[in-house]
Symmetry: C2
Subunit: 382 residues, 2 copies
Amino acid sequence: MTPKGFSFSAINAGVKAPGTARLDLALIFCDKDAVASGVFTLNKVKAAPVLIGMELVKKGSLRAILANSGNANACTGSGGTDDARALMEETARTLGIHRDEVAPLSTGVIGVKMPVGRMLEKIPELAAGLGGDPAPFAKAIMTTDTFPKVVTRTAGAATVLGIAKGAGMIAPDMATTLAVVLTDAVISKQDLDNIVKTSIESTFNAITIDGDMSTNDTLLALSTGYVTVNTNEISRAVHEVIRELAIMLVKDGEGATKIVEITVTGAGTDAEAKKAAMAVANSLLVKTALFGADPNWGRIMAAVGYSDIPIDPDTIDITVSGYRVVTSGKEAEGFSEDMLHKKLVEKEIAIGIDLKGGSGRFTAFTSDLSYDYVKINSEYRT
Amino acid sequence: MTPKGFSFSAINAGVKAPGTARLDLALIFCDKDAVASGVFTLNKVKAAPVLIGMELVKKGSLRAILANSGNANACTGSGGTDDARALMEETARTLGIHRDEVAPLSTGVIGVKMPVGRMLEKIPELAAGLGGDPAPFAKAIMTTDTFPKVVTRTAGAATVLGIAKGAGMIAPDMATTLAVVLTDAVISKQDLDNIVKTSIESTFNAITIDGDMSTNDTLLALSTGYVTVNTNEISRAVHEVIRELAIMLVKDGEGATKIVEITVTGAGTDAEAKKAAMAVANSLLVKTALFGADPNWGRIMAAVGYSDIPIDPDTIDITVSGYRVVTSGKEAEGFSEDMLHKKLVEKEIAIGIDLKGGSGRFTAFTSDLSYDYVKINSEYRT
């Protein structure tokens, strides 16, 4: 089920290397002007499509998204902007729309010039392939992802469709990813901006795989406005789609074998709770212990301790998937390493950290750190 | 060659588990009052020996150091302090000195009670074994270290001896480690404090293995004051010993196969240069690329970009071991992936990043991230 007014296509354009068979160039087309919102990487090194996308979204309306994997179009100087514009121009010409109604999205290796010639040649065929199935688009934007990420929700008669790619370089703010959220609900630019921005904070900005932040992070939200629905309902559906995509990204983190939810309560403020939760979520020692199901809870205490927020170590309680591990800063009475080990063998783990110092709270999501993370990232281009 | 007035001993006391043969309890004795300085972890979760050591060093004089590996004596509540004090008391009684002249040092698993009974029993035998060779002490404080770390320098007729353990949880500020720096030079408490504090900033606080910071970091510096030397000379020798120990820690980082020096120049301030250098030094994507000799320089640009300092991406130059990789934010002319790969295969790598925005500079040291890091840390206790 897809929202009314959107069509999809994907093709192999040899972006990574000529001769490979995988889908790497993809298109979303809107049959009318779509209200558009976007959230972009905070990295000061921004890829050309990010710089362009930020400008386009300000105007508030788009007709198409042209995405590619295999090349980030980042750190290539003004040539990168020229390349992106040439692709937008050709897409617009083929679809009979204006260049600045086409938003570019790129992901892949940084610093290598895009093979624009090969890509331009394929755009007519790409446009000719437009149809109702979003699956090829979802596949074409994958890099080291092991599965395509597609989520749908309904809000009354309206539909919300989310598509994302993630896997590597996942970190706030925001989690490195390309994501599109499409709906046919009637919604104002201002409402869409608000929904997206508030949803991001507790979802994409709450997940981490390796603490790195990419040059290309982008989430675009588009609405064709065919269906009138209650604003609260559509807000909830958009939030759920964004949250579900974020969790899928963690589950498919490079080399991840587990998903770990880390909830910090009792902090002075929500911002302090987030600092503590993200310190634990990013700790390599915690993440390797999670991978090995090592009942080494001291690493959680140590990460909270260096998270640079006010704490009293002697008041901290820690639970792991409901099992009490630490009470008032030390091993809980009756604690058993075997019991904790059993909790850590599970594929879904919930760590609760109560600082007992206030009402601030935050939930972060992370993955464990495995051999495969190292393997994937040490051989990314070889 | 050891500085006059110090003797050393080490023994197996079954700290980790009874029946293991390794040295895990160690002693340094000063035959007269030694001027003492110390630097301690900034982690808010501090082990009992850290809290005690901080108080002892304020008084400025020590006679002995009692160190153990296998147990951090952290997160064990007031019992941890009682345990440390009992060990200090027994050491003092055996050596005929006062309890508060014995500084405790611990490293190992957090949150597990120390086997104080076994340790107390061994102290008389430990004291009886005191002799001139520091090697057993250096071995006894090792955890996942693969080699003992001992450095000596002379300053005129005086000697400076440094001993450290590192390997895991190495991160500023300060690098997680236990270190002792011993000298027989005449030096005031104030001068020793100054030398240690200024040396730390460009050495132990400039190295990182995994970004984690322990609950137990401690560097203690002691001087018996037998030999009169020029203050500049002794300062230089102490600095060199501390720097050499820091580099040895990185070389022996868990699973490390390479040592990488990252120098950022052209930042607005030294502090900004440090932020950028440490972002690159801590980036898992950079560290895995270094392990795999993957010529993926975009990951360096991305890390500089998210380091949260003012930069202009279009002015950045990057060299790797002298080879120009990036000029003004994009691939240098004539750049060859093969050439960069060859530089990255080397065991010692120097990354130069010129931001061209000011005169701030900083050099950080890091290691690569290998399969073995994951192996060591996922199986630490199993």
